[in-house]
Amino acid sequence: MYNDIVMDHFQHPRNGGEITDADAVVEVGSPECGDTTKIYLTIRDNRIEDVKFQTLGCAAAIASSSMATEMIKGKTLEEAWKLTNRQVSDALGGLPEKKLHCSVLAEGAIREAINQYRKNMGLEPWTE
């Protein structure tokens, strides 16, 4: 069902857990299937210094969160904002058709967290 990269990220998720003094914390849920992903960001000098996630979801959802957080770690907020779920699933070597929607949550959560940080900083939230 899943390829080796997906299985690896699912069985050994990178960046799983919480950051107690994070600069941004958001939780997004999928009304469609009930998946929930929580993203914690620590930001220094406009860069994502640390990121952690918690996901309630299937293997694809967990692997997507793991891969997505790996992909934004150390990146500027602008770079992280540009991450698409397509990039995540590509980096995972592809997801089964009917599991593609599971990779959407991570991307959405990261964007929401970035905007939460910007609002906390008194900045305009980004829109696109």
């Binding site: 899943y2 299985m7 699912f10 069985q11 050994h12 998720p13 799983g16 857990g17 939780e27 469609e32 299937c33 009930g34 998946d35 929930t36 992903t37 929580k38 918690q54 996901t55 309630l56 979801g57 299937c58 293997a59 959802a61 967990i62 009917k98």
Partner: protein
């Protein structure tokens, strides 16, 4: 997460007997000659074909004996799904002049539910009876649902997801009193629930060999003598001209061998499996907090454990267990392709978050005490890790 252990990988812990079972080696051995040597078409006239006819008759006798039926009331099909389709469409269409109402339950297998939905597009009306939180159908609701238009009541003997066993005998009596045909999908029940079609007032019964160590692709429909039912598959005169198609000879032989094995000592077999099941469930409840049991505490298939671990996703747990060589399911295997929560758990009123957190272990012939130990040694830690990764606090 747990590292997949290659040495353990090789030993499969199969706890998905409700999805399917391996065909028992004795059953395969019984089938084998009918592929290559005794391969004659039972409809042919020469001696070779007579051997085939005799084998089919013997298998039919075995199925009949297992049900308390007569051999002339047993018809071979390609499996439980065809049996359900035939029973429901066949009775509905043949008795349309008497009425167009069907009663069934909300927790039937899709083979029954989707057949009923189809009949709704053909002018039939269907009552889908609710169940209580344990998945039990109240016989009174059956009685109350009967109208002058009702031609068929279809209630499964035992549920495939939560394992709940229905009060079939009571429902059968209600159907008899109301002079309405009574069909039961006994696909999950054979080998665990003793069947007597007369005592239980069953008019039609579906079964499928691969659920009790027989081969896939073969099943049977019991049709009580005198039931007014249309043919479903038209063609040659096989099966007393009621179900056409060259007989699946090895399959039929396999079904006969398997049902004889499965029903030879239901009590002992069920006890052995229920003992392991109870130990598994007790261990799970003792070691894993915030665990909820789905289905009935007592009126359930001996091999069925269906539990929800709050805060996690069933499929994720299933995949991690798979990496440990443990096979189980989340919801019915048939619906695993869909993202919808199980219609059975929904009908039982299970919270959607707990429904998606459910796992079914279905024990069976293959299961050993060692398997239970292994699952109990792996499961608590696996659930704990998934919960640690979950944003939902329990």
């Amino acid at each position: 997460m747990n590292e997949p252990d290659p040495t353990r990988q090789s030993r499969l812990i199969y706890m998905d007997h409700s999805a399917t079972t391996p065909t028992h080696p004795d059953v395969v051995a019984a089938m084998l000659p009918y592929f290559t040597e005794r391969f004659g078409n039972p409809s042919s006239l020469y001696t070779l074909a007579g051997i085939s006819r005799k084998a089919v008759a013997e298998a039919r006798g075995r199925v009949a004996r297992a049900l308390g039926a007569s051999p002339s009331e047993v018809f071979f099909t390609a499996g439980g799904t065809e049996s359900d389709n035939w029973a429901i469409k066949g009775v509905a269409l043949a008795n349309r002049h008497r009425g167009t109402h069907i009663i069934t339950t909300a927790i039937e297998h899709h083979a029954v539910l989707h057949t009923c939905r189809y009949l709704e597009t053909q002018g039939f009306s269907v009552t889908y009876l609710p169940v209580d939180r344990y998945g039990i159908v109240d016989p009174d609701t059956v009685r109350e649902a009967v109208t002058d238009e009702t031609v068929l009541i279809s209630v499964m003997t035992a549920n495939n997801e939560v394992g709940t066993i229905q009060p079939i005998e009571e429902i059968g009596r209600i159907a008899q009193d109301a002079e309405v045909y009574f069909h039961t999908d006994a696909v999950q029940a054979i080998g665990f629930v003793p069947i007597d079609v007369d005592a239980m007032r069953i008019d039609l019964l579906s079964l499928s060999a691969h659920k009790f160590s027989g081969p896939k692709g073969i099943g049977a429909l019991y049709i009580r003598d005198g039931v007014n039912i249309d043919t479903f598959i038209h063609g040659g005169a096989q099966e007393s001209a009621r179900r056409a198609g060259t007989e699946n000879l090895p399959g039929i032989v396999g079904l006969g061998a398997a049902i004889e094995r499965a029903t030879s000592d239901i009590a002992a077999h069920s006890r052995r499996i229920a003992d392991m099941r109870d130990r598994l469930l007790a261990g799970i409840l003792a070691d894993i907090p915030a665990t909820y049991v789905n289905g009935h505490p007592v009126l359930r298939l001996p091999g069925n454990v269906n539990v929800s671990f709050a805060g996690i996703d069933g499929e994720a747990l299933l995949m991690l267990l798979d990496a440990e060589g443990i096979c189980c399911s989340t919801g019915s295997a048939c619906t695993s392709g869909s993202e919808l929560p199980s219609h059975v758990l929904m009908a039982c009123g299970v919270d959607p978050a707990l429904a998606r957190a459910s796992i079914r272990f279905s024990l069976g012939e293959m299961t050993t005490a060692e398997d239970i130990d292994t699952v109990l040694s792996v499961l608590p830690e696996t659930v704990r890790r998934l919960r640690a990764l979950s944003p939902v606090k329990i």
